[in-house]
Symmetry: C7
Subunit: 254 residues, 7 copies
Amino acid sequence: MQGQAQQQAYDRGITIFSPDGRLYQVEYAREAVKRGTASIGIRTAGGVVLAVDKRIPSPLLEDSSVEKIHKADDHIGIASAGHVADARQLIDFARRQSQVNHLRYGEPIGVETLTKTVTDHIQQYTQVGGARPFGVALIVGGIENGEPRLFETDPSGTPYEWKALAVGADRGELQGFLEENYDEAADLDGGVSLALEALASVNDGSLLPNEVGLATVDAETERFVQLEDDEIETHLVENDLLDEGEDEDEEADE
Amino acid sequence: MQGQAQQQAYDRGITIFSPDGRLYQVEYAREAVKRGTASIGIRTAGGVVLAVDKRIPSPLLEDSSVEKIHKADDHIGIASAGHVADARQLIDFARRQSQVNHLRYGEPIGVETLTKTVTDHIQQYTQVGGARPFGVALIVGGIENGEPRLFETDPSGTPYEWKALAVGADRGELQGFLEENYDEAADLDGGVSLALEALASVNDGSLLPNEVGLATVDAETERFVQLEDDEIETHLVENDLLDEGEDEDEEADE
Amino acid sequence: MQGQAQQQAYDRGITIFSPDGRLYQVEYAREAVKRGTASIGIRTAGGVVLAVDKRIPSPLLEDSSVEKIHKADDHIGIASAGHVADARQLIDFARRQSQVNHLRYGEPIGVETLTKTVTDHIQQYTQVGGARPFGVALIVGGIENGEPRLFETDPSGTPYEWKALAVGADRGELQGFLEENYDEAADLDGGVSLALEALASVNDGSLLPNEVGLATVDAETERFVQLEDDEIETHLVENDLLDEGEDEDEEADE
Amino acid sequence: MQGQAQQQAYDRGITIFSPDGRLYQVEYAREAVKRGTASIGIRTAGGVVLAVDKRIPSPLLEDSSVEKIHKADDHIGIASAGHVADARQLIDFARRQSQVNHLRYGEPIGVETLTKTVTDHIQQYTQVGGARPFGVALIVGGIENGEPRLFETDPSGTPYEWKALAVGADRGELQGFLEENYDEAADLDGGVSLALEALASVNDGSLLPNEVGLATVDAETERFVQLEDDEIETHLVENDLLDEGEDEDEEADE
Amino acid sequence: MQGQAQQQAYDRGITIFSPDGRLYQVEYAREAVKRGTASIGIRTAGGVVLAVDKRIPSPLLEDSSVEKIHKADDHIGIASAGHVADARQLIDFARRQSQVNHLRYGEPIGVETLTKTVTDHIQQYTQVGGARPFGVALIVGGIENGEPRLFETDPSGTPYEWKALAVGADRGELQGFLEENYDEAADLDGGVSLALEALASVNDGSLLPNEVGLATVDAETERFVQLEDDEIETHLVENDLLDEGEDEDEEADE
Amino acid sequence: MQGQAQQQAYDRGITIFSPDGRLYQVEYAREAVKRGTASIGIRTAGGVVLAVDKRIPSPLLEDSSVEKIHKADDHIGIASAGHVADARQLIDFARRQSQVNHLRYGEPIGVETLTKTVTDHIQQYTQVGGARPFGVALIVGGIENGEPRLFETDPSGTPYEWKALAVGADRGELQGFLEENYDEAADLDGGVSLALEALASVNDGSLLPNEVGLATVDAETERFVQLEDDEIETHLVENDLLDEGEDEDEEADE
Amino acid sequence: MQGQAQQQAYDRGITIFSPDGRLYQVEYAREAVKRGTASIGIRTAGGVVLAVDKRIPSPLLEDSSVEKIHKADDHIGIASAGHVADARQLIDFARRQSQVNHLRYGEPIGVETLTKTVTDHIQQYTQVGGARPFGVALIVGGIENGEPRLFETDPSGTPYEWKALAVGADRGELQGFLEENYDEAADLDGGVSLALEALASVNDGSLLPNEVGLATVDAETERFVQLEDDEIETHLVENDLLDEGEDEDEEADE
């Protein structure tokens, strides 16, 4: 109880340091990220894979309504986890930065540059008063100088570069799965398989196409592509991850 | 009591994160939505239906005074539930955005674009200090590229796309009714029937014309139309939902 | 006590939501309205009637000093109840809006438009920090396109359209009286009679001319007219509501 | 104690409503008015009388230093009670408004217009945060269209028109005296007599010239005139109110 | 304890009214004045005298460092008591106002006008939030139209005109001494004698020249003159107030 | 507990002094520095060495992602410890200042000038309200007029010049190691060796190349150079600090 | 405990008066001054001496890094004690003011003028909200019209002129030493000796050259000169204050 009272003292008004040097509002924003469903990013030699859990709470909610994968630029995609409305703000910010770069320099923005512009924006909300931090983590993936790059932005405004990562619910379990099974030599299809296997691993071992969002940025084409349900289904079948029983019910509904 | 005290700590001043990553002011604003009477949106192949419970507390209050269905543009209607004065602000905002789109691009605004412009506006009130969130949920329905679209905006600023949904009082019961009875193949009339049946289901099985607000956006005409009391009565009779006894009394009054 | 402590937590600083979705500062502002003497509005086929209780606390206070009925435009009158100084601010705001309409569109402002401009203004004071809500309710009555219209603005910023209504002290009792005795077919004189009967009903059954404020907007002339004491006396005599004993004393004083 | 604790909750920071619809900071400002010595205003057929208690705490303080009667314009005087420094601010504001009226319209400002401009200014300090209300009440007296007018501004920003009134210390007793003895038919001299009698009634029945401030605005000349000590003495002698014993001592001092 | 807790509630953040109509921050600022050493002002027929206690806490501190008498304009001097740094702000403000008057009107500012400009400035710090009141009282003395004038500004922003007054430590005792011994017919030298006697009366009956600051504004020359230590010594000797024993020690030091 | 409660009182809202003259928010920001991994700076006759502990929490996180050494200008490098997002803000600020200097004066900025510009910026965040202090310490190293210079900026905004220093985790132990082993006569290679030995001393005596960041600014070339992993490995081998066992595993992974 | 709780109530948010007229934040800022090492200023007939204790906590910290004596202008030096980062702000402010004076008036700024410009700046931080006071005291010494002048600025913004003074740690002891041994007739060398003796008196009677900072402003040359370590050593030897044992060790290190 003592600890709790002390903790409460540091999370009101503006974001300030606790006696042990922590920023509680930032840590609470990280909890908001954990409350969101999982998102995964995987970097392969052939490009970047973004995969998200988009199971919906009601059959009447449109699958497409759960927007967790976004195109930031032709060559960059972003997956998010956490507070959805906050994610939209950052995605919009990222898109505007991409456009500004095109206008100003006549060339596409670098993945790292874009990520760091976003994290600097996020940091401001953790230091200057009058607003709360963003309750969202982004996975920014794309191609830069022909090389696949994969970054994370966290609520403190720190940029991280990853080979593969998971954010949101079950992060611990998923990251463990990725660490065990990641193969840097894999091609883009291998990345897709790993992403789906990871998501299935925390979902009774199988998935339905409409419960998953999947996008890739191919290192050769340098184009962000969001996969359709039938393409996802093909991938699930190939990886023996298709939730057969449920799927039929779903199809009957449509 | 401990939990309550803790909860109180996070809902004063500006909207900030609780230790478990929640935004209490946003959750309280959702309670304000539940305090409002129910509103329903249904998407059919033939168009979109908006229906609202507009029972009035006093016989001297004008039925038309309970404004819960609004025209945002020729092809888009909005139904609201929750804090009425807040709803008016968002409706005005939506109308201005529609006009701006006409002026700037010479064409009507998309239903999705309009919804997301509104939710981004709502989000700002949950992150930047000096104001409270909007205590209202909107159902935005219209035709986009010939296709009926139906969205919800919630107090967090998250946009959702639905086949059918209810907001406001009795949301749980109404949403359950919709999930059970929704038929994607239905035409506009079928949608109207489902909406009325849903509202009647939480109102002793019958309704009076002046207790209901009803509007449609036909996929062919792409025109928002608000139904008159006699049209509503016809629909109620057709669906065997007319509250006969009460209706006579009402007519005697007028 | 628990409830009270909780309640206190939500009414300081700016107007924010309570856990059950209420805005306490707005509800307290409604209490400020109840602390004001009663005002009544009645819509008849022949026009709109505004009547107010203007009993004064001291014989040396000028009757005219209790300004509860105001002319907003040639065709619109406003009665208020609640915090007098706040009412003046809103009346001034309404007058400026009427003038702006004349200047901008060359025609008188609609009753509904004026009401909603005022309620939007009121709403701002309930959402944005740094100020308290207005502690006043207005009854806005006038003629629009030849039709009598009667609106209420409440401290939340919600506009309501009424056939007849009472605000301020004894609202419950007065509204009950109006509901029982309202006759939509009545002419303007009938409306005046109903208003005076209602006020007398909470004042021992009789009234003095200088204790009442009375104004009408005739549907034909479309002109706001405030009645003089002798005209009010005539109405009181006709309706057998004149407080004879007291009246003589008063006349002796003057 | 419970009530007191509750009360404390509503008077900090900005001026907000209490659960029963009151504005405590405004009520406390009214207490500040009561802490000031009394001021009286009387309207007669012949003009307006302003009279103030200006007894001084030290014989070394200059009588003229206690400025409680001020000239706002040639035809308008103002008496104040309460927080002296606040009064000066409002008097300055009133004078500027009078000058602005001269410049803008080429004619003197009306007494009612001036009063309401001042009360609107006062109201702002009770609604918008960042400042406290004015702790002062003003009596504004003057001639408008040949008619004497007498107004009060209170800390809430409400304007009242009076035949005769008292503000400040002993308001209850003084107002009672005025109600009992006010004669609307009296001329300006009768008004002066009544004012002095009232002040004497709460001061052991007699007054010293230098303990009283006295000013008139004659309905014919329409000129504000502040009376000298010898003129006041003449009035006191005529009304048999001169404090003979003390007066001699005072004269010895000078 | 109850009273203390209540008191604490009204002195935080901005300056607001207590339930009994007091402004505690202003009253606390008056305490800051009492913490300063005494200053005296005396008006005589021949001019104005300002005298201050400037005993220094360390022999190494320069006497001249204790600046309690300031020249505001050629014909106006100001003595201060209380928070020294605050006094400097107000003195600077007064000097700027004097210069502005010279520039704008081509003539010296009146003593009363200057005082009231300063008190209006002080008042702002007691009403508008974001700053504390000034913890200083000023004695403003000078010649206006050939007449000596003597004013006080207190932390509330109220101007007082005095024949003679003391502010700061021992105010009660010193003011009593002045009331008993003040002689309006005295000339400037008589005023100097009275000031020194007063200061000596609270200092064991004698004074050292360097413990006293002394300035005059002669009614004829209309010039502010600050007296040198030897002139002060002459006055002390003439009035038999020189602290002989100590003085020698002091001289030995220098 | 008493001390703790007292402490809590001084760390909310803005940064203010505690009764013993401390700024708790600044001290808490220093704790944030300690939470970061260690960074070391060493000044030798031959130039400046910056070395950082960059062990990563997950094998999937890119080594390069842990950015603790930054180039501020051609001749200046900066190592950081503490809150990463804050460090990025200060690094950006430093880079902009370097560019401004180039543009304004046509020459590279001095190491000391740059450091003090940064510390002045940091100080502002400890004195002016509305933001928290920076939770980061920087080591600024470079060549100025041919001389190696090494500075520290701490969260209070104080600049320190060092011969050698450590910040972040294990500062005490590392600084002790440096004090014992520092040799001012050493050349740049000697500085590199000392830095690696120090880092190894708190890491079981050995290091892996990818766990260390290393940069130098040679006094002759005046160029900031960040060392590659193989160069670091050479240094580790030369100093017999290479963690042989682990290294093989790592290489197998890649 | 009661006193402590009361004290806490007055030191949060902005700087406001306590019931006894004190400004606690200013008093706490004075504590911050005491936490700094001592600084001494001595005025002699031949000029001004500034001496500071600059013992360093680590042998690796550069002596020159402890900047406690600063040149404000050619003829003015400033020594500081307290919060180092705050001191830098005020020194910068003082330098800018000196430059402005050169530009505006074509002549060097007076010592007193500079001091008072600085104290006025300091005062603002004690009255206007949104920032804390400066936690530093300055000793400003220089030549003005051929005369040595010596001033102190304290955290309240009060300027003091001194013959000799100490600020920071051991102020009481050092000031006592100065009062006992100060000789106004001493020349500049005598002033240097007194300063070193004073510092040695609180340091076991001896000093090391690098533990002391020493500067003079000669009354004839009117030039600020900071002494080198060997010059300081000469002075220490002459005054028999050199710490022989330690000095050798130190020299061995270098």
